[in-house]
Structures are given as C-alpha cells and as structure tokens.
C-alpha cells in the first residue's frame, strides 16, 4: 500500500469503490439457528450419548422388526405337534443345539435356523422370547412415560400458572402421593385392579396384553406423575414472572394460550429430559413386577418374567437369567446415559 510520505496515511486515490459482487460478498446472512439445533449440535459432541442413542435405536428396531420374519414364534413350543406325543428333546436346548426332528432334517441336507439362545423348559425358542420381552418392556416404558408426561404436564402447568390456592391444594395432593410407599401401592393396586379389570377387558385386544399390564399403566398414571408435575411447576413458576408473559396478558391472551404458547415451549428441555429418564424407571418397575409375578400374562414374555422363570434352573442354565438381565441393563443404562446427554445438551443452566 502506498503511504503518504509525510503523514504515513494511506493514499486515498489507491482505493476503488467496491463492486456489487464484492458488496454482496461482505453481507453474509447467517442461517438462523434455533435452540433445538444448538442442542442437537451439543448432543452430537457427546459420544456416550450418541452411542447410547444408537444402542436404543438398534434394540428398538430389532424388537419391532425381528419377530416379523423370525421362523419361530414366542409362544410356539417346538416339541408339540398336533396329534403326536410331545417331543421332549426340544426342551432346555443349549444355544445352537437342535431337537431330534431338526437333526434328522439337517442330516437330509436341509438348513435349519439355529436356536441362538437355545430353548426354554417348554421348548420355546429363547432368542425370540428375549426379543419379544424387550419389545414389551420398551412399549411399557414408552407408554407409561407418555401417561406420566401428559398428567404431569397438565397438572404441573396448571398448578404453576394459577398459583395461589389452586397451587397449594394441588401441591398438597402431590405431597400425599409422594409420601405413599410406591412399591407397596403398585403391588396393592395391581392386585386390586386385576379383580376389577378382568371382566371389563375380556374379549378385547387388551386381554392379550393382560390385566397386569393395564393395571401397571394405571398405577403409573396414578402415582408416577408427581415428580414430573413438580418439575414442570417449578419451571412455570419462574417463567410466568417473565415480562413476555405479562405482554401476552396485555394482549388479552388467556391462561391456556399462555401456557401452550409461552410457558411449555420454554420448559421443553425439562420435559424432554425427565421423560427420557422416566422410561428406564418404568422399564425397571415393569421388570421387577414381572419378576414378582405381577407383570404380563403368560405366555407373553417380558424381560422381568423371563428372568423370573429362569430362576428355577439357575444352576443348569445360568445364561437364561443372564441374557434378559443384560438386555434390561443395556436398555436402562443407555436410556439413562442418553437422558443425561440430553440434559447436558438442552439444559441451559448447566452449560452457562
């Protein structure tokens, strides 16, 4: 650059006006970034959360897709053929062993799909039972969390937004439910509801699912929404003091509008996170209820009931206990880790 000799100022004659293309180049409009995009970006950086997410996706997809084309059914006793005596060679097969008939057919050169985890005491393919059990457990976790979410969200936001007496009454009810021993209540309610529900759902699709499952959902609906509603209420209490809520009130918006448009979108991170953490807890509850014999109706398997059944032959067939236990742990662990990752990525208070 030419500088003026005396003043060392740049010579203005050396400057040329910018062309249109150059002006265009200077104006760079950054695409607008939303809260959600930022959160996903942060989540993607968390390797553990991403791995957990893929584990969950793989387990879920397997449990949905595999039963569709697996050659065995979860309730198919391989040794039982109509009109023939029960072939006990199919019972209690070790992994990759075959029953009598299957060995014969293999000798003839036929290909037989292996029993990856062997079979159980009734000669049912154990692998498909585990897959099916995972499907049930995931479904229970998902729907139970959905129930908790809907009830917790509604009650929490009403309590937080209305405040005053409404808030006091609702929060005392929450306190009462909180102070109940939930294990005891779950067992008690499942037992009682079983009597009440059995005639109601006879002959419907729900019957296949079993009274226990339905009562489990009801128990979740009745008891487990409290912590969710408390969290939502806490968020809403602080959010409703924001000036934009006052601004919405000044335009004449009503409570429902303000909750839906202003308050809930701003506590979505808390909602997503606590729902994600609610799923493993629901799966866990379902598992030990099944383990105690209060879960799904036989022959429908769930991971808990599989583990429970395996207890009888624990010394001879330890893998039958270990496999469902590992699957439960895997599901619960990856959901928890993913939930933690979500919280780190979406909770603005944690990352400053």
């Amino acid at each position: 650059m030419n500088l003026k000799k005396l003043s060392m100022h740049p010579d203005l004659d050396c400057f040329a006006p910018a062309s249109e293309a150059e002006k265009e180049y200077m104006v760079q409009m950054r695409p607008s970034s939303t809260f959600f995009k930022d959160g996903v970006k942060r989540l993607m950086k968390n390797k553990i959360a991403v791995i957990s997410f893929f584990v969950i996706v793989i387990i879920t997809l397997c449990s949905i897709i595999l039963p569709m084309f697996w050659p065995y059914k979860y309730d198919q006793m391989l040794g039982v053929r109509p009109g023939r005596p029960v072939n006990s060679s199919y019972n209690n097969l070790a992994p990759f062993e075959y029953g009598e008939k299957e060995l014969e057919r293999m000798a003839e050169g036929e290909k037989i799909f292996p029993h990856i985890f062997g079979t159980d005491a009734q000669g049912r393919d154990y692998f498909i039972r585990v897959v099916y059990g995972a499907r049930i457990s995931l479904a229970v976790g998902f729907f139970a969390s959905l129930i908790v979410l809907v009830i917790g969200l509604t009650v929490g936001s009403i309590s937080g937004y209305c405040g005053g007496k409404v808030d006091i009454v609702i929060m005392r009810i929450v306190d009462i439910i909180y102070s109940l021993p939930d294990m005891l209540m779950v067992i008690l309610l499942s037992t009682v509801l079983k009597e009440v529900l059995a005639p109601l759902i006879a002959g419907t699709v729900l019957e296949k699912l079993g009274v226990n499952m339905i009562s489990l959902f009801i128990v979740f609906g009745l008891l487990y929404w409290v912590s969710m509603s408390r969290q939502i209420r806490g968020q809403i209490l602080s959010l409703r003091e924001q000036e934009y809520v006052l601004a919405a009130q000044a335009t004449g918006a009503r409570g429902k509008w303000i909750i839906m448009k202003h308050l809930l979108p701003n506590c979505i991170s808390v909602v997503v996170i606590s729902t994600a953490l609610q799923i493993p807890s629901a799966i866990f509850t379902e598992s030990y209820l099944s383990f105690l014999g209060l879960g799904v109706n036989a022959p429908m398997p769930s991971l808990g009931s599989l583990a429970s059944d395996a207890l009888n032959g624990m010394n001879s067939y330890p893998y039958r206990l270990v496999i469902p236990a590992i699957v439960i742990s895997l599901i619960v662990l990856s959901l928890n880790l993913f939930g933690d990752g979500l919280r780190d990525a979406f909770d603005p208070k944690l990352n400053g």
């Binding site: 607008s32 000036e243 006052l246 601004a247 335009t251 004449g252 918006a253 701003n266 979505i268």
Partner: protein
C-alpha cells in the same frame, strides 16, 4: 405532539388505588400501597409523561390502567365508558396496548419475530387468511423500521434497539389508540434512545396515537411529552404542561427532581443550584402519615403530618398537592 385535540379525554383515571397484600407473618397481610389515589386524564393524541424515582408506583399505574393488575379501587374510564366487566376489558385490550421496559425479557425466546408480532392478531383473531396475517406483520415491521427478512428470526438474534422495535410492532398490531410505554428506552443506550423516541413521535403523528409515557429520564420525557405528571410514593404530587413544569415547578419534590437534570451548558449548570434531598424514599409499606413527602421536605409543617394535601388546580392546567405552596420559593 400532534395538533388534533378533542376536549373530551380519551382515558380518565379517577382515584385509582392498587394495594398489594404482603404477608407479614403467618396469615397476616399488610397492604403495600403501590398506587394510592391517583387521578388524571389524557386527551386524544396527547402524550402524558409520568416521572418519579424508582419504586414510586409509575409502572404499577401503567399496568393497572391496562387491568394487568386488578385495581383495588378507583375508576378507569376509556372514551367515556368505564372499564369494569370482563367483556369491557376484552374490548379494551384491542384499543390499549403496552410497550415494555426490558426488550430482552419481554420477547419470548422460543418465538420468531413474526409470531411475536402476530400474537395479538392471533389472540383477537384479526385476520381471515394466513396471507392476510403475514401481510399485516410485514406492514408492522415496516412501520418500526425492521427488515422483512427478519420475520423468521428469533428475538435473541437482535440488538436491544431492534428488540424494542419488535416490542413496539407487537403493541401496534391491534391498531390501538392508546399505548402505555413503560420506560421503553431506559434499557437502551443513548444513540438508540433517540432513534426509538423519534420513532414513537413519528408513529404518533402517523397513527394518531395517545401515549402514557413512563420514564425516569427527565430529558426524554420533556422531549416527548405534552404534559408531565410527577409521582412520589404512590401519589401524584404535580401535573402540568411539560414546559410549565420545567420552567415553574411548584411542588418541592418536583423542584428537587428537576434540579437534578444535567444541563449541557456548564455556565448554566453552575448557576443552577441543586436541591439535594436527604434520606431515602420511605417504604410504601410504612408510608408516612399525611403528605408522603414530608419526611424529606424542607418546608414540612405540622399540618403536613396530619392530612394529605389536596391535589388541586393552582394555575389553569397546573395541578399540585402541597399544603405550603406559598412558602415554597
């Protein structure tokens, strides 16, 4: 500042009181008298400036007029009709809106600019088609000098001044007649303040708006207001034309308040003597008896402790509440 003036006031406030119950101990509550008997009226097309120090109840007056707080007592008469029932309030919300102080917390961070500005339209269902809504939003953005490309962006992507423009566009959405401006420029830096203030004036001329302009910056208030009201501890102490109150303040509190205004010319500034008040503003929970200002007033006499002075017209158009006006120099 516009010239159209009807003699009937657009909005009239009569003896407005707003007491908040404050829990003292257990179930006992004590009223916090945020606003305690304020009366004034604003003519169509006029700007009334409302000044006073922090905590004197300016903002509460603004919010109570819009029925954001339910008034404890008193009347708000809009265009000759008192605002009482829920239906009145609903109708009133289409005519009176508010611009908020903090451009950061008054815009929902999860909404786009178009949704923020369009919210009043949605609430009152003021459009028939999506296109109509979009057209109205773009028109409003144009009014306040925002680029139409900004419509899809989120509020956090804007500067303070731009955010306040968004807030003003939202206030204009329902085509209001009356806007309460609650310290709309005090969160902005000075150069932006001037832009926003000028925009307020342009909008007033263009749309025939009436403002209640709440502020603590006295120069800003003088610039925009036709008349100015001074508040102290929930009560109005003086009300007069802007120039009158600046040139001939009567109430001792107004005198002291106005003497604190910085003057750009150092010669004049030196000639002016500052009246410095002693002590702090008393808590509105334990307001002094009689005149609220007596604890800090140089001219206070026994009568000040006994009764609240009447808010009376001392000169034509100049109201003042003081027992000892003749003694105040």
């Amino acid at each position: 500042m516009s010239e159209i003036r009807n003699e009937t006031p657009l909005i009239e406030v009569r003896n407005l009181k707003e007491h908040f119950p404050i829990q003292v101990s257990g179930l006992k509550t004590k009223p916090l008298k945020a606003v305690d008997g304020v009366s004034f009226s604003i003519k169509r097309g006029e700007t009334l400036g409302l000044v006073g120090e922090s905590g004197c109840g300016k903002t509460t007056v603004g919010r109570t007029i819009l029925n954001l707080y339910k008034p404890t007592s008193g009347e708000i008469i809009y265009d000759g009709k008192p605002i009482k029932t829920a239906a009145d309030i609903k109708e009133f919300r289409k005519k009176a809106t508010m611009v908020f102080q903090d451009p950061y917390s008054s815009l929902n961070p999860r909404m786009t600019v178009a949704d923020i500005i369009g919210e009043p339209l949605d609430v009152h269902k003021l459009y028939k088609t999506k296109e109509e809504r979009q057209a109205r939003i773009l028109e409003l953005m144009d009014y306040v000098g925002l680029n139409s490309e900004h419509a899809a962006r989120y509020a956090h992507e804007f500067s303070g001044g731009q955010r306040q423009r968004i807030g003003i566009a939202r206030a204009l959405a329902v085509n209001p007649e009356f806007i309460v401006c609650d310290e709309p420029v005090s969160a902005l830096d000075v150069s932006i303040q001037a832009q926003v203030i000028n925009m307020f004036q342009e909008l007033q001329e263009k749309l025939g708006l009436t403002y209640l302009f709440i502020a603590h910056d006295l120069l800003v208030v003088r610039h925009i207001s036709d008349r100015i009201a001074v508040m102290y501890l929930g009560k109005m102490v003086e009300l007069a034309d802007a120039d009158e109150i600046y040139d001939h303040p009567m109430h001792p509190y107004s005198k002291s308040l106005l003497s604190s205004v910085p003057v750009p010319d150092p010669n004049i500034a030196r000639a002016n003597k500052r009246i410095i008040l002693e002590g702090d503003i008393p808590s509105p929970l334990n307001a002094p008896s009689g005149c609220p200002f007596r604890t800090r007033c140089r001219y206070a006499t026994d009568v000040c402790a006994q009764s609240m002075p009447e808010f009376k017209e001392v000169k034509p158009g100049h109201f003042c509440a003081c027992h000892n006006l003749e003694n105040v120099d």
